[in-house]
């Protein structure tokens, strides 16, 4: 009896339901990609089979056999079973084989490229969020002064230029025209001959190569955070409890951090999660511009080469990362806001 009550409580729990929703959306996305690849007219599988038949002059049977091994589907099995095979494969981290780098498992490719992008995206996110909050607060406190105007102008210009074009501009001006850095030197994610290891030399080199994508992402995203924080802080400053806190004689520092700051940041967490997806998206183009060896550039190149298994896997991975980040941000939000935390108490 007690166990069933506890179970019921657990299933009604906000966090549990939220997690369930996240898992469900990952599931739907993977399912959709499967059917997109397998069943749509003119789908990648058929295209691959046809191209093999034409270029290699093999029979349909043989071409389909090749496709089977690459796409990890047994074309002779009914579609539904193919689907369950596919899902089982995914659960075991089996994404099939790359078409271009023949016989290389896609999972190996992902393991090789993903960490670099994760590194860039997470550092940029933390940097731009923190900077944006600090500057946004400053703007709200100094509203309608030159500080405010300078940063507002900056962010409205930055929103007008797509991030990968900012990347191009950085290369053109800082790399080529003013020669601040060596354009060829920063390419890739590590210098040639650098061995990964837990030492300062490695970390410095990694940072050196990641610096440009990070700078670009930060410069392009910080404006958005600034404006959001500015708006949110201004709204909070108008709240009664801030006025009451002043009347209570609290120090300016305590009010700014504990009363205004904390309340103003909260709504930003809801957009924080969504921006992670945007950053992954941006990294595809930015990594290509900088030829930084991350998963974004891998996605771009597999797109160009129509390497479907790789595209599909990277997409699923990026989606999973984004959904998890979303989930994390939601939990963080719930943990920070007692109005949600104590719900149902």
């Amino acid at each position: 009896m007690a166990t069933s009550a506890m179970l019921r409580k657990f299933f009604k729990n906000y966090y549990f339901r939220r997690t369930l929703k996240a898992v469900a959306s990952i599931f739907v996305v993977t399912t959709l990609t499967f059917f997109l690849i397998r069943l749509m007219p003119g789908n990648p599988l058929d295209i691959y089979v046809n191209s093999q038949m034409q270029s290699l002059g093999v029979s349909r049977e043989e071409a389909e056999a090749m496709a089977s091994s690459i796409f990890q589907v047994d074309l002779k099995r009914p579609v539904l079973l193919q689907y369950t095979d596919y899902v089982t494969g995914l659960l075991h981290g089996d994404f099939g084989l790359s078409i271009v780098s023949a016989r290389t498992p896609v999972s190996a490719l992902i393991l090789r490229f993903l960490p670099w992008t994760m590194f860039v995206v997470s550092v940029s996110l933390i940097l731009s969020f923190t900077l944006g909050i600090l500057i946004g607060t400053l703007m709200a406190y100094k509203r309608n002064t030159w500080v405010d105007y300078v940063f507002t102008t900056f962010s409205s210009i930055m929103t007008a230029i797509p991030d990968f074009m900012v990347a191009t501009l950085i290369i053109v001006y800082f790399g080529v025209q003013w020669k601040v850095f060596s354009v060829t030197g920063v390419r890739g994610s590590l210098s040639p001959g650098m061995v990964a290891g837990f030492n300062a030399k490695f970390f410095i080199d990694a940072f050196y190569h990641a610096a440009l994508p990070i700078i670009t992402l930060v410069v392009c995203n910080v404006g958005n955070w600034m404006l959001q924080m500015r708006g949110s802080t201004m709204a909070t400053l108008g709240e009664d409890y801030v006025m009451v806190a002043k009347a209570r004689g609290l120090s300016e520092a305590r009010i700014t951090t504990g009363y205004v700051g904390r309340n103003a940041i909260l709504p930003l967490f809801t957009t924080l999660a969504l921006s992670i997806g945007g950053m992954f998206g941006g990294s595809v183009l930015i990594e290509t511009v900088f030829t930084y060896n991350g998963i974004g550039m891998k996605l771009a190149s597999s797109l160009g080469a129509r390497d479907y298994p790789v595209m599909q896997a990277i997409f699923i991975i990026i989606t999973t990362a984004t959904v998890s980040a979303n989930l994390f941000a939601d939990f963080l939000y719930g943990w920070l806001d007692p109005r949600i935390r104590t719900e149902g108490r």
Binding site: G238, E239, D240, Y241, M243, V244, A245, K246, A247, R248, G249, L250, S251, R254, G258, Y259, R262, N263, L266, L336, D337, P338, R339, T342
Partner: protein
């Protein structure tokens, strides 16, 4: 006459606006007596809430105090609030004079517990012993008829409106201020809750001996609680007198008009009268007496010369034709 605890002289305040300065307070002068309850009444936009803020030099948004002095009299000490440094005034607030805002419902930081509000306040005024603060908070919460064990660890959203109002009173008494300013203390509350807050205010006042200013648009609250009533109109006090004279022998046509606009429950059914027109635009005000466009007693003089608040005995009024108003008000009774 009783001792003065607060002297307000020529207090003026302006809000910046695109259309020009909004003159929310214009040369307001009055004395607050020790232990009394003064009610500030008037319609929205007459400057009564602004006055509450200005008295503790807390200017919201684009407001700026342009003129005047507020002097706090503490025994032999006279302290001019306008000459205090930021840090001094910060410490003055809540220890000597506590101003409680209209929206008790929204007076708390939603992210921290009620006990943290007590601790924050006490720490800001130099009390650092946490257990002592909590013990004091407990006593005060019990004093406002709340269960301290339940309230202290609660988050603001977990309390009802009436409870929040009570907690605010307890919080207000934390530093035992000499003066308490209450802005619309019962406005959003239900009648029975309002009643218990009124009774509570009476009880606390007996117990703690503070002086009270309360701001309300509700005349009946003034009739119930106040010793003296100050009527405000267009950023000025236009009448200031004891509560019985204010209701029974009003000398300003605006006060007179207000008393005739409100029905009573017990008593005869009389036809209510409105005051025609609406309050003036505080950016472009009429000439002369600011009330003259709405005043049935207005003469040519009223259009030209603004009357000053003048004392006739203990009754202060700013009206050229106060005798006629008084006569008319006696006739209407």
């Amino acid at each position: 006459m009783a001792d003065t605890v607060l002297e307000v002289r020529d207090l003026s305040l302006e809000y910046r606006s695109r259309r020009g300065p909004v003159k929310a307070l214009r040369n307001v002068s009055f004395d607050l007596y020790k232990g009394e309850t003064l009610a500030l009444i008037g319609e929205s936009g007459c400057g009564k809430s602004t006055m509450g803020f200005a008295l503790i030099r807390l200017t919201p948004g684009t407001a700026k105090i342009t003129n005047g002095n507020v002097t706090f009299v503490d025994g032999p000490n006279r302290i001019n609030l306008m000459e205090m440094s930021e840090n001094e005034i910060r410490r003055f607030r809540w220890t000597d004079m506590a101003m409680m805002l209209q929206a008790a419902l929204n007076a708390y930081n939603p992210l921290i517990r009620i006990q943290d509000h007590f601790i924050d306040t006490a720490k800001a005024h130099g009390l650092n012993n946490k257990s002592e603060i909590i013990a004091r908070a407990r006593r005060l919460l019990t004093g406002v008829q709340l269960d301290a064990d339940r309230v202290l660890p609660a988050y603001p959203h977990e309390l009802s409106g009436g409870m929040r109002q009570r907690v605010l009173l307890a919080l207000g008494l934390l530093m035992q201020p000499k003066i308490i300013i209450l802005d619309e203390p019962t406005t959003a509350l239900d009648i029975l809750t309002q009643r218990s807050i009124i009774e509570l205010l009476r009880k606390l006042k007996d117990e703690f001996n503070f002086t009270m200013i309360f701001i309300s648009h509700d005349l009946s609250l003034a009739a119930e609680l106040a010793d003296r009533v100050a009527t405000m109109y267009a950023g000025q006090i236009v009448e200031l007198t004891d509560v019985f004279s204010a209701f029974e022998k009003p000398r300003h046509p605006y006060t007179f008009g207000l008393t005739r606009a409100v029905p009573t429950l017990h008593g005869a059914v009389e036809k209510l009268e409105s005051i025609p027109g609406s309050p003036p635009d505080l950016v472009f005000m009429p000439s002369g007496c600011k009330f003259h466009p709405r005043c049935p007693f207005a003469t040519d003089k009223c259009k030209e010369v603004e009357p000053k608040l003048t004392a006739y005995g203990g009754h202060q009024v700013a009206c050229h034709n106060w005798q006629q108003v008084l006569e008319e008000s006696q006739k209407a009774r």
